[in-house]
Symmetry: C2
Subunit: 247 residues, 2 copies
């Protein structure tokens, strides 16, 4: 049924566009809607022109912060009641986004950590496949530390391999080779003790499904999609506006 | 490579959301992009709260025009250089949208008619599967008449059947039964002389592919996606701002 009290969702997207489409699909699927009018009102700024987040965090490219802030403000001006972002590495600038707008920002990292805390007890080692920039900003390491689930991450060579795969996915290559190599990286984390794996980059679920992973796979995009639906329908209270540092 | 002179695309969507996601996927796939930054900047107002277009055209529900106009203006204010809409029936209010903004509006109906004119010679009967509202507004009938390709459309009973299928698709049912029934309707148009079938509702390509149709199937969403990419990259001039009546 139609819910006039539903909130309008603003999504910072385009990083990359396929990951944004994947998130939108998951929101549509999570809505349990029968008629068009039962779905959420989403305003999506799918802006792939945002500078490369990994290069910025490596110090080899410009900061995406000015563009992310401009997108957040545009979405607020267009009528969004709260914001979310379909790129995990860009959450390194979550504090700047939160400071720039008067509406709440829902963090995919915080939502996923909450889900992980629901799924496995404290002390459980959790594998994370994440982009280099997210690693450098320690987004997942800090979020998992905060809930006392130690992060198991790729070593330097594996991380370099993952970045190669990530740029192939962004270039549209979601073929068998990329899928097999991503699954192999997930299995490496499991061999190293991970009892759960977080698809900690929004491109990962494009090539890795639960069947490819010998332990439970937590798809951060899926978690964010469900959280967005719950917040928009006011089934749970939105996070406070106060900025939490860098996630 | 990055194209600083690319145009920003504003998309009126959410009618329904799955059809909008389908259009976005087709835009991403049509972009031939290698890096995130090669993709188009899209601003999408995915607003499923727009009143039912078929009911409005049947005289049994409120007009969606005020909401469509508000969406178009919001997208213009957010920075869109031109507009397109991921719902064909809503093109019955194209004139109102065009009158409300200072940027061009690309019509999925006009773009598809141009594609049909490229594919088959004048006089070729073309089947169209379209929603009741689009039928009532004669969107396809007039567009095909204008290029001298007679429209072959379902009869009243078949149209009622199509509307049942359409609302099932909108409710998320894209199962084998819906697919088979949609394909059967397409075949009926072919048996009646259609030498080409237009998927003339943005939900149709969600359940009907070229393999399901014994004659060439023109997917209006696919045509619009390619047109959007070409316009945004300035590979072709945008349509003049002057309103063409009701398409």
């Amino acid at each position: 049924m139609s819910r006039p009290d539903e909130l309008v969702v603003g999504i910072l997207g385009g990083m990359g566009p396929a990951a944004t489409v994947d998130l939108l699909e998951k929101i549509v699927a999570s809505s349990g809607a029968v008629r068009d009018q039962d779905h959420l009102h989403l305003i999506v700024d799918c802006n792939p022109k945002v500078p490369n987040r990994n290069e910025a965090l490596d110090g080899t490219g410009p900061s995406p912060a000015p563009q992310l802030v401009a997108m957040a403000r545009r979405l607020e001006a267009a009528g969004a009641d709260f914001l979310a972002m379909a790129c995990i590495t860009a959450h390194a600038w979550a504090a700047e986004i939160r400071a720039a707008v008067g509406i709440p920002f829902v963090s995919i990292v915080e939502e996923t950590a909450t889900e992980v805390a629901r799924l496995v007890p404290p002390g459980t080692p959790c594998g994370v496949l994440a982009a280099q920039g997210a690693r450098r900003a320690r987004l997942w390491e800090r979020a998992l530390e905060a809930i006392d689930r130690p992060a198991i991450v790729p070593d330097a060579a594996e991380q370099a391999r993952f970045m190669e795969l990530l740029y192939r996915i962004k270039a549209g290559d979601m073929g068998a080779e990329v899928r097999a190599a991503t699954a192999a990286l997930a299995r490496t984390l499991v061999e190293r003790g991970a009892r759960l794996v977080v698809a900690g980059c929004t491109e990962v679920p494009l090539v890795l499904g639960p069947a490819d992973c010998p332990v439970p796979l937590v798809d951060a995009s899926e978690v964010l999609a469900r959280a967005i639906v719950a917040y928009a329908r006011r089934e749970r209270p939105l996070p406070a506006r106060a900025a939490r540092s860098g996630s």
